[in-house]
């Protein structure tokens, strides 16, 4: 019996050790973004200087602006297209359905670098000038897959009963979509959109290959800063990014929760 408890103790110790491993680097970054010392990783005092400096870095602000444009545009379009794909898969039978299903998952599973180089090759092939537009197109493409996965899971949870019930009660297929399907999957669509925005906001690989002049996104800017050398400004911008992303994710998780209660009734 005592051996059993010891096992349990070490299991707990291990688990919290792993969580420390996961969170320590992030917390260290955040803490040191307020550190006065520029070169060495030694705590010398609290300062907000690095954050102040970010605000005067025109290149950085440009890249934030670009990231926002790319994120918002690609999210809007990918959410619509991804939701349509999920609805089509949910509702209809058509030739090549299995193939289409596989293609919808593929952008998630193939290595990012492969997708990046294939898009670059394609853009050059069709002679599209690389810039912000090329990044947006690329982001829409992989985000369709992410939105699809989330919305499809919601539709699967909803089943076909509710839609049948609506039709039975006299709703046309448009009314069914408008008054039943859309409201029920809405939390899924919104969390899909949040997800898409987060992924777009964080993406470096695809943008790195497909952005041209004037298309520098925030991660690309951060990447070149890191390549140039470790500075407290990177800590500061990292901290802001981390907090921003966490906010988005918590929001998505929240919506997910609301949805799950709705789902249990629906099925």
């Amino acid at each position: 019996m005592s051996k059993f408890n010891a096992g349990r103790f070490f299991l707990g110790l291990h688990a919290w050790g792993v969580f420390a491993f996961i969170y320590a680097p992030i917390l260290i970054l955040i803490v040191f973004s307020f550190n006065q010392e520029r070169i060495n990783a030694v705590w010398t005092g609290f300062t907000l200087d690095w954050y102040r400096r970010l605000l005067t870095d025109a290149d950085l602000l440009d890249s934030v602006y670009n990231s926002l444009v790319v994120g918002l545009t690609s999210t809007a379009i990918a959410t619509i297209l991804g939701t349509m794909a999920a609805l089509a898969m949910h509702r209809y039978v058509f030739r090549g359905k299995k193939l289409f299903d596989a293609i919808l998952y593929l952008p998630i599973v193939i290595p990012e670098i492969v997708m990046a180089v294939s898009l670059l090759t394609f853009y050059v092939f069709i002679q599209l000038t690389l810039g912000l537009v090329s990044v947006i197109i690329a982001h829409i493409t992989f985000n369709i897959a992410f939105v699809f996965v989330i919305v499809q899971a919601r539709l699967a949870g909803m089943g076909s009963d509710l839609e049948n019930a609506a039709a039975d009660l006299g709703a046309t297929s448009w009314q069914t979509f408008r008054f039943v399907t859309l409201p029920v999957i809405a939390p899924g669509v919104i969390s899909g959109a949040l997800l898409a925005f987060t992924i777009s906001w964080d993406d470096f690989m695809i943008a790195f290959f497909t952005a041209g002049v004037g298309g520098t996104t925030l991660p690309m800017r951060v990447y070149s800063m890191i390549k140039f050398g470790v500075t407290p400004e990177i800590n500061a911008i990292s901290t802001i990014t981390i907090l921003f992303t966490m906010l988005l994710i918590l929001l998505a998780v929240r919506l997910e929760g609301i949805f799950k209660t709705a789902k249990t009734i629906g099925t």
Partner: protein, 284 residues
């Protein structure tokens, strides 16, 4: 009427993915059989040279290294992840949920930033060395950054949740009564773990291993930022072909080799049940 609705719903996403996803993949597939011209242009003659070059020792070394690094990272993830999944599965429902969120949330924060955090910690004048030096535990800084070790740390750090989630799901699915029955029949903890839990959670383990191995194999940023010249992986090799050497056909061939390995593994994975995969895909 119904078929019109069908085409309006299906058409736009299908056309979009056809143009911007399938077509690009087809193009690099075709390119992988062409050759590079003197000026980095593309000579349109069919040849298998690019695939043969990939197994030339010069490049095979990188492919081999990528595989090796990925295998080691996967195993470390398994060793760290299995007990963690086990621990989470044994908590109360509320605690489970909290721990799973805790596990996934950092995963969503910027990949670059998380990798940068390790540069900050591991570099010669970084936090780890500073701390160890000032504590007198070492006399000269450890050279970890820009080595394979750093790459492996970075990969494990990044992909650990992919290991934990499927294993957690497979443990969660187990009936607690099985464990009790096993103990009741006189097995020790270790025996019941070995004879019952390990075989029954095997699908989860295999899923986890594939889900970690696949992205490790295609990694680019981690080896680029944390690794040195001697720890380049195939992702870096592809990048060099496209952006520096301008040998697109060879880069395309390398891409296809990586993709073929990945898809083969995923196909094998699909036979182990798709449930776990959906979860991990959502997490990603």
């Amino acid at each position: 009427m119904k078929s019109l609705q069908k085409y309006i719903t299906l058409g736009p996403p299908a056309i979009w993915l056809g143009i911007f996803f399938v077509a690009p993949l087809l193009i690099i597939f075709v390119y992988s059989f062409f050759e590079r011209g003197i000026y980095g242009d593309i000579v349109y003659t069919f040849s298998l040279d690019n695939y043969l070059r990939a197994i030339d020792p010069l490049y095979a070394k990188t492919l081999w290294r990528s595989t090796w690094i990925s295998v080691v990272s996967t195993l470390i993830c398994l060793v760290l992840g299995y007990p963690l999944a086990w621990y989470i599965a044994r908590q109360s429902a509320k605690m489970k949920k909290l721990l799973l969120v805790l596990l996934i949330v950092p995963f969503w924060t910027n990949f670059l930033v998380r990798t940068y955090a390790w540069i900050f910690i591991l570099r010669t004048e970084g936090l780890l060395n500073n701390t160890l030096l000032s504590l007198g535990l070492i006399s000269s800084p450890l050279e970890i950054l820009f080595t394979q070790t750093a790459v492996i740390i970075g990969l494990v750090y990044t992909y650990l949740p992919f290991m934990v989630l499927p294993i957690y799901v497979s443990i969660e699915k187990l009936d607690r009564a099985l464990f009790d029955a096993c103990r009741d029949l006189g097995a020790t903890s270790w025996q019941s773990f070995k004879s019952i839990m390990l075989p029954l959670t095997k699908p989860g383990i295999i899923s986890g291993c594939i889900l970690v191995f696949v992205p490790c194999l295609g990694a680019y940023i981690t080896p680029d930022l944390l690794g040195g010249a001697k720890s380049l992986m195939v992702g870096n090799l592809i990048q060099v072909q496209f952006l520096a050497a301008r040998d697109w056909p060879f880069g395309a061939a390398l891409s296809f080799i990586v993709m073929a390995i990945v898809l083969l593994l995923l196909f094998a994975y699909a036979r182990w049940g798709t449930n776990n995969f959906d979860k991990a895909a959502e997490a990603k």
